[in-house]
Assembly symmetry: C2
Homo-oligomer: 390 residues x 2
């Protein structure tokens, strides 16, 4: 290690070294679709300082495969900062010199929060499929206890992309007086048939892997091949035709040229190598049962609960910004736009912005100055407005 | 059986009862990428009559999962006509009262033509992975022997969609003086990175299934679960977000309502049920090794062989019509349009047509009056033009 190597993560404008915390709720938690836990743990991180009025908190919500570690690094040797490090930090769009930023691993997850891979205290064994069915609303209700624990009554803003956007929307409806504003990106008010279809293929790949064993497996010995296939497929849906063409085109791997005929179905194109790597590395960090549970929560997500969303957004008090990306074909612009139109019809303060980027669904995660300006402007505007709940 | 039930397949305007034939080539066949067979079989069907001049033949090429049975029925009890029965028949766009229509199962396939599931005469065992690597060009070269066998020098038209479109294009370049016109639909001159990526996920699902056994399995005992997953995923890419939403939306299966908690990851939404059915029924009719070989042939397909396609289309003598579909995101309009632009730049007689349909890639297979008019008009126009090779 030398200073030059670690400098970027510690330099001005970076969150720098961070650590995670575990919040343990010891109150029983009843799940929306039935089932109960005697309590649960949420792993979370915070950046920046909560002000004296305790009203500068921003809650960040992660996507299906994300976690609570959205900014900073765990050590000077840690080469990979949190997943939204480009967005969060002092002077960055979500400015940690002004805001107290908070992110927790979702209920049902596998990165420290209670989920199917957690030990059931009643049996001493992993929950597996005995874990209750979890919904986006359950995730939000669990997060509200963390907010209570931190002594925060009202969020300055609820922010997330993809499944994180669903949570931001759900927060504003579930706890209207606790959310002053929300930013939802690359998201939807209800999972479309195509999105359900892709999730179902991923679930089939997992449950058909003999290693799944009805969800009863030890870490590392689960349906690794099936989970990798599920992730490879899902990863394609996060990108775009144009983006993949620009990044990989039809470039072939050099190694394969010298491979024997036995390797006919081995990796040939660079894009295949990239995808296989995505599949393999995912298996090392994600639990297959959590993938089943969370993907199912996504499929069941329907903000309007089967009806038009006007009725539910009517409860909302938050100002809203919804951002769609032109090349996102998983949650296409149309689905994002519809949310704002419903909000406007319900008389809410809501804006839709569409950003022209060709990186697909994952556009919200990458460097995007146009997005940065929308986020920082929207967050700052709130400071000059009368607050619904001071 | 009563007359009312069978009437539709036999009534005027239908091809009616058909049977397949096997063409056996006993000349050695050298594959483009190495390897040789002492001969091969192509299963094929024909509809209509070859005229005295033997110049009214139309060769139809099927897509990845298709076969030689593109029109008519095999018996009066046969409820399912060939895959392009809506397009082919007396008075239909591909008019069997005027044309002699021909379709063969591709080399490498599993519906009667020689492929990995065929018995290797040298060993008495199935080829499996010892089958030579097959390319779209190999398929076309094998088809040319069938054409020789039938005594047909020149095709009135070469027609296909998806992989069939690739073959139509390849025919016009490989045998310029044997193709007077071509219609390629929902196709591409080279497989994009995204299309390769989806095929790679399908292949991974197959080869990771313990039933695959390095391609060495008996029919029915192969990687059925992996093949079903591959098909389910591929099937989504043949449809569209809008089409799926209109057909299935978020409608739930009625049966599941009463299912126990153990069925949490069982079928819940109608779209899941539909997809699982697609996967299961595919396993009953398709060989996993053929799927590996043919999907690889698609990925390697590059009409321009790594260079601009202007150079290769320069050889072409056929008039060309290329048809793209607005909602096709597997081989999007842009990829279809590019082919025609290259042909025009090379001074060829070529037209691009784009049809506004929301059924995705499979639009070319469904009832589409706009497509019918283009096809029948294009085929008839040829009759009034001077022929390059009389």
């Amino acid at each position: 290690m030398n200073d030059a190597e670690v400098a970027p993560v510690l330099e001005e404008g970076e969150v720098g070294l961070v650590e995670y915390h575990d919040f343990v709720s010891e109150e029983p938690f009843a799940f929306e679709e039935g089932g109960e836990l005697p309590g649960f743990t949420l792993r979370y991180e915070t950046y920046g300082k909560l002000n004296a009025a305790r009203d500068n908190a921003i809650f960040i919500f992660h996507a299906l495969s994300g976690d609570h570690h959205c900014a900073g690094v765990y050590s000077l040797q840690d080469a990979k900062p949190g997943w939204w490090n480009n967005m969060i930090g002092p002077g960055k769009p979500i400015d940690t010199s002004k805001y107290f930023v908070l992110c927790s691993n979702c209920l049902g997850g596998c990165q420290g929060s209670t989920g199917p891979s957690s030990i059931n205290p009643a049996t001493g064994r992993r929950f597996g499929l005995s874990f209750p069915q979890v919904s986006v609303r359950d995730m939000v209700r669990a997060q509200s206890r963390l907010l209570d624990h931190l002594g925060i009554e009202t969020l300055h803003c609820a922010i997330g992309g993809s499944m994180g956007g669903m949570q931001a929307l759900q927060w504003a409806i579930e706890y209207p007086d606790r959310v002053r504003s929300l930013i939802a990106m690359a998201t939807t008010s209800r999972q479309s048939a195509q999105a359900i279809a892709f999730n179902e293929v991923g679930r089939c790949a997992i449950v058909q892997d003999p290693g799944w064993h009805e969800g009863d497996y030890e870490p590392g010995q689960g349906p690794n091949l099936g989970l990798a296939v599920a992730r490879m497929m899902a990863h394609i849906t996060y990108l775009s035709d144009e983006g993949l063409d620009r990044k990989f085109g039809r470039v072939r791997r050099r190694e394969r040229e010298s491979a024997g005929a036995g390797g006919y179905f081995d990796v040939e194109f660079e894009v295949e190598s990239y995808l296989r790597y995505q599949g393999k590395s995912f298996v090392n960090r994600f639990d297959a049962n959590s993938y089943l549970y969370i993907s199912k929560a996504l499929d069941r997500f329907d903000l309007g609960q089967g009806g038009p969303i006007e009725e539910v957004v009517d409860k909302m008090q938050a100002r809203a910004l919804v951002v769609g990306f032109t090349s996102d074909w998983l949650f296409p612009p149309r689905q994002n736009r519809e949310i704002v139109h419903a909000m406007i019809r319900a008389g809410k303060n809501a804006s839709y912005a569409e950003i022209d980027m060709d990186l697909g669904h994952d556009s919200f995660l990458v460097r995007a100055p146009a997005l940065y300006e929308l986020v920082s402007g929207f967050l700052a505007a709130d400071e000059h407005l009368p607050r619904a709940h001071a």
